[in-house]
Amino acid sequence: MKLCYYPGCTLKTKAQALDKTARKCAAALGVEMEEIENWQCCGAVYPMGTDEIATKLSAVRALEYAKRNGGKLLTLCSACHNVIKRTNEDMKAGGDIAIRANNYSKFDEPYKGETEVLHYLEMLKNVVGFDNIRKAVKNPLNRKIGAYYGCLLLRPSGVMAFDNPENPTIIEDFIRSIGGTPVVYPFRNECCGAYVGLKNKELPKKKSEKVLSSAKEKGAEEVITACPLCLYNLQANGGGILPVRYFTELLAEALGVEE
C-alpha cells in the first residue's frame, strides 16, 4: 500500500531519526511512504485567529495534492499532524477560511476537505493493525514504557478525533504490540511547556520534569513520543529523569530493522 507522506521541516533536519525509522518500519510492514512533491513547512503551529488564511495555505496545498494522489495524507510529526488536520477540518466546514483559501489557491476544482489525514500511529492501528505488528515483531521489547502524548495529537479532541483526550490508549496499545508493558501515568497528556521555550526557560523545565517524574513514579523505564519538540524538551529540560525516544525507534528495534 502506498500513502502520500508529509514529513515536515524538523524531520528533515533535527528529527531525522524519527523520519528514517518510520520509513523503514513502514516498508517492513508493507506500507510505502511516498513523500509528496514540493511540500512546504506547515508553520508548526495552528493559527487560531479566524482571519488567518495565508498561514494555512501550505497545509491546504499538501492536502489538495493528497486528494489527487490516493486520498490519504500520512503525517508523523505531532505538530504537522495538528496543523494539517485542523486546517483540513476548516476546509471541510466550508466557512470563510475555506472560501478564501480556495479563491487564492485556484485549484482545478475547489478543495473541500476530502483528504483523510492519517497520523502514523493511526496508520499502524487502522491500516496495518496492531495484531499484524505483533506478528512481525522479531525482538519483543520486554520493558516498561511510558507513552507521552503531549497536547498536539489529542487536542482539541472535537477536531483531532485521535483518541480519548483524557484517557488515550493508542500508544499503550502500540507498546503492547511491540512486546512492551505500557505504563499509564497521569501526566502523559499534560503539556511539556516547550512552545514557550525561546522566551521562558523555567516553565518548560518545570513541566518536563513533572512529566518524567510522574512516568518514573508509576514505573516507566523510558518514555516515547511522536513529537520532535516534546522529545527535545523532555531530553534537554527533563533533568535526565528518564530516557526519551521516538516511538518509531522502538518499533524499528522490535521489528529488527535498525541499522
Partner: protein, 663 residues
C-alpha cells in the same frame, strides 16, 4: 347566513404592545360574514368572557373567533363561555396572535398585518365549522403506576387510599428505587430507609395495591379511561407465592461474585439474591447470567436447600393484560456515565467515587457497614474532596446542559456527615455556584460551613491525578485567583443525573412527549405540571425533571389527586373531532383501516337507494368515535376522498390555506 363575532384580546401589553389590537378589530369588521368585532384587555377574564357571551346573545352569533393566546392555553375557556351563551362550543376558533405573532415580532405594522391575516384565517375556518357533540366513554376504575420508587409508592398509596385499585409495575426485583439506596436525607438528616421502608410495607399490605415487581410494560393501547396494557412478568426463577425470604439460598449459593447493583457494584452478591434486607416483595431472584446452573447445567444447590420449593429454573416470562383508567409514570433517574469525564480520574482510581457510591459507603447496611473506608485499601480517608457539577450545566456535549438540582444539597449533607462522624477528617468542596432554594436548605448548607468547618472552594477542578498514593485535586480558587492542588485520600464526584433510560420506551408506548434531555414533557410548565399532553397520563418524580425527595413526593401526591379526580368520574367526554366517512363516496377499499393505529375503523354492509326504487348493498367504512383519536391519517389515505375529519375537515384547512395566501 353566517353571523361571525370576532374578539381581539390585548393580553395586557403582551399582545397590545406589538399588535395594534384596535386596528385589527376595526379592519376585521369589513370581512364578509363578520357582524361583530371588538377588543378587550383580558378576554379570558370574567369580564372578557361576559363580553363574548353578551355578544353571542345580542348579535345572534353563529360562530366566534378569539384572537388571543395559543389555543393550547385558553381554547377550552372560550369554548365553555360560548356554550354558556348557547353556542355550540365547537363553533369557536382561536387565532393565535400572541405566541405566534406579538411575542416573536418587534415591528408593530408587521405584527398587526400578520395578526389580521391570522384572524382572517380563523374566520375562514369557523365559517365551515359544524356544531359537534362530544360522546361519552366509560372509565376503568384502576390505575397503573410505572416505577416503584418513592414517586410511584407515594402516588400508589394516595390513589389506593381513595379506594381505587392500583398496580405498581417495577422493573427491578424490589420496589424502593433510588431512595432505598440513600443513607440520610436533607435537610433534616433523617434516615432514608427509616422513612421509606414503612411506606414500602404499606404498599405491600394495602388491599388496593398490587405490586408487579420484576415486570415491564410491553404494550399500551387505548386512551384515557380505557388503557389496555400488556405487562411482561420477567422470569425470576423463584416462585413468588412460595418464597418465604429465608435467605438460605443466598447462603448456600456457590456463585457469590456477582456485582451488587444495590451497593453500586462496591461489593458482591450471590447469583440468587434478595436485593436488600427490606426488599418488597421479600422474594429472591436468580441472575441467570451469573448462575452456574444456567451456565453449565450443573449445580441446583439452591433448589436442594429451598424448603419452600420455590426455585423453578424452568420459569419463563409471562404476560398479563390489564385495563386501566389512568397511568402514572414514575420511572426515576440514574447518575450519568462518567466516560466523558476522565479528567477526574474515575476510571483509573478506585478512590474517585460518585456521590451515590458514597451513600452506600456511609450506609450502615452498605458494603462497609457504614464505616467510611477507601475502596482501594480499606483505610480511613483523612482528606476528602468533593467536586460539584460533574456533568451538569455542561453544554459542550460531554454532559448535560441542565442543573441536576440535588447535588448542592446532598454534597453539603455528605460533607457534614463525614465531619460529624470523623472530626479529624478534612473536607473540601469545589463548587461553581451553591444552589439551595428551599425551606431550610440554605441554612443547612451554611451549617456545613459554619458549624462543621467544611472548606468550600469556589472554582472548578481541572484535573485529578494520582501521585505517590495521593489523589491530587487541581482546581481553581476563583476568590483568591489561585490554582490550588489538594492532596486527598478520597474524591467524591457530584455526578449529574439523567432520566432512567427505559423512559424512552415508555414514552413511545404512551405517545407521551419527551424533551431533548429525555425528560417527559408536562402539559403546561406552570398550570398543568403533572399532566402529560397525552390525556390520562401523569408524571411524577425525576422522569419529568430533576427534583429532590420532598418535591417528588409532592408531585406524586398531585398526580394521585389528578388520577383520583379522573377515576371518580363515571363517564368521560370524548373528543368529537373524529374521522367520519361519507358513505356515498366510500367504496370499502380498506385503505383507511390499514393506516389506523387504533383499530377504530371497521366495515359494515349497508343498503343504499339507487333511485328508481332500486337498492344496492355496499361495504362501507364505519368509525368508532370512542376509539378514534382524530389524527387524520385515514383522511389522506382515502383514495376517494370519502373520509374526513371533524373539526379539521379538508374544506376547513383548504380555506385556511386560501386565507393565508390571499394577498
Amino acid at each position: 347566513m353566517q353571523r361571525i363575532g370576532v374578539f381581539i384580546c390585548w393580553c395586557g401589553s403582551n399582545i397590545a404592545a406589538t399588535v395594534d389590537v384596535k386596528k385589527v378589530a376595526e379592519t376585521i369588521k369589513a370581512e364578509p360574514g363578520v357582524v361583530f368585532s371588538d377588543n378587550y384587555q383580558y378576554m379570558c377574564s370574567e369580564n372578557g368572557q361576559q363580553l363574548i357571551k353578551n355578544a353571542i346573545k345580542e348579535h345572534n352569533l353563529t360562530g366566534i373567533v378569539v384572537g388571543a393566546c395559543s389555543p393550547r392555553m385558553h381554547e377550552a375557556t372560550f369554548r365553555k363561555a360560548a356554550e354558556a351563551a348557547g353556542l355550540n362550543p365547537y363553533m369557536v376558533e382561536i387565532a393565535n396572535i400572541r405566541e405566534h405573532c406579538s411575542w416573536i415580532h418587534k415591528d408593530m405594522d408587521e405584527a398587526t398585518e400578520k395578526a389580521i391575516v391570522l384572524v382572517r384565517t380563523a374566520i375562514a375556518k369557523v365559517k365551515l365549522n359544524a356544531p359537534l357533540t362530544a360522546g361519552e366513554s366509560p372509565v376503568e376504575k384502576r390505575a397503573l403506576v410505572i416505577g416503584g420508587g418513592i414517586a410511584g409508592i407515594q402516588a400508589a398509596l394516595d390513589i389506593a387510599d381513595a379506594g381505587f385499585q392500583v398496580d405498581i409495575v417495577e422493573k427491578n426485583a424490589t420496589i424502593g428505587g433510588r431512595m432505598a439506596q440513600l443513607d440520610k436525607t436533607f435537610p433534616t438528616l433523617d434516615c432514608s430507609a427509616c422513612i421509606l421502608t414503612p411506606k414500602m410495607v404499606d404498599c405491600a399490605q394495602h388491599e388496593n395495591i398490587d405490586i408487579l415487581s420484576y415486570s415491564e410494560v410491553e404494550e399500551v393501547k387505548g386512551f384515557v379511561g380505557n388503557f389496555n396494557v400488556k405487562i411482561r412478568r420477567k422470569a425470576r426463577f423463584v416462585d413468588e407465592t412460595k418464597c418465604t425470604g429465608c435467605k438460605i439460598c443466598m447462603e448456600k449459593c456457590p456463585s457469590k461474585k456477582g456485582l451488587n447493583e444495590f451497593n453500586m457494584n462496591l461489593d458482591t452478591r450471590p447469583a440468587i439474591h434478595i436485593p436488600f434486607a427490606q426488599a418488597i416483595p421479600n422474594v429472591a431472584v436468580i441472575d441467570s447470567t451469573q448462575c452456574i446452573k444456567f451456565k453449565t447445567g450443573k449445580c441446583g444447590i439452591c433448589q436442594k436447600f429451598c424448603e419452600a420449593g420455590a426455585i423453578d429454573y424452568e420459569q419463563k416470562d409471562t404476560f398479563i393484560e390489564r385495563k386501566y383508567g389512568a397511568i402514572v409514570v414514575a420511572t426515576g433517574f440514574k447518575p450519568i456515565a462518567l466516560d466523558n469525564f476522565n479528567e477526574f480520574g474515575y476510571a483509573d482510581n478506585k478512590d474517585v467515587i460518585t456521590s451515590l457510591e458514597l451513600e452506600r459507603l456511609m450506609n450502615a447496611a452498605g458494603p462497609t457497614n457504614g464505616v467510611l473506608l477507601r475502596p482501594s485499601d480499606g483505610e480511613h480517608p483523612k482528606v476528602v474532596t468533593f467536586i460539584q457539577c460533574v456533568g451538569s450545566r455542561d453544554t459542550s456535549g460531554c454532559g448535560k446542559p441542565y442543573c441536576s438540582k440535588i447535588c448542592c444539597m446532598y454534597t453539603a449533607k455528605h460533607a457534614m456527615m463525614i465531619r460529624e462522624k470523623y472530626p479529624d477528617t478534612e473536607v473540601h468542596v469545589f463548587y461553581i455556584d451553591i444552589r439551595t432554594p428551599g425551606k431550610n436548605y440554605d441554612e443547612f448548607y451554611r451549617r456545613a460551613v459554619e458549624q462543621y468547618d467544611v472548606d468550600y472552594i469556589k472554582g472548578m477542578v481541572g484535573k485529578v491525578y494520582n501521585e505517590n498514593g495521593k489523589l491530587m485535586v487541581q482546581g481553581s480558587n476563583l476568590i483568591d485567583n489561585e490554582q490550588v492542588t489538594i492532596a486527598s485520600d478520597l474524591v467524591v464526584l457530584a455526578t449529574a443525573i439523567e432520566p432512567e433510560p427505559s423512559v424512552r420506551k415508555i414514552a413511545t408506548l404512551l405517545t407521551a412527549s419527551i424533551d431533548t434531555n429525555n425528560f417527559l414533557t408536562e402539559s403546561h410548565a406552570k398550570l398543568r405540571p403533572v399532566e402529560s399532553p397525552t390525556a390520562g397520563v401523569y408524571l411524577a418524580g425525576v422522569c419529568q425533571g430533576p427534583k429532590d425527595i420532598p418535591e417528588t413526593v409532592s408531585q406524586a401526591s398531585a398526580c394521585a389527586a389528578k388520577v383520583i379526580g379522573l377515576l371518580a368520574k363515571s363517564k368521560l367526554k370524548t373528543n368529537p373531532c373524529v374521522a367520519t366517512p361519507d358513505e356515498a363516496m366510500c367504496n370499502g377499499c380498506s385503505q383507511c383501516a390499514n393506516v389506523c393505529a387504533y383499530g377504530a375503523i371497521t366495515y359494515v354492509e349497508k343498503e343504499f337507494r339507487l333511485g328508481g326504487g332500486k337498492t344496492e348493498v355496499r361495504r362501507v367504512a364505519s368509525v368508532n368515535p370512542a376509539v378514534c383519536q382524530g389524527c387524520g391519517a385515514c383522511t389522506v389515505t382515502c383514495p376517494s376522498g370519502a373520509m374526513d375529519l371533524r373539526g379539521f375537515s379538508s374544506k376547513q384547512i383548504m380555506s385556511e390555506v386560501e386565507a393565508i395566501c390571499k394577498k
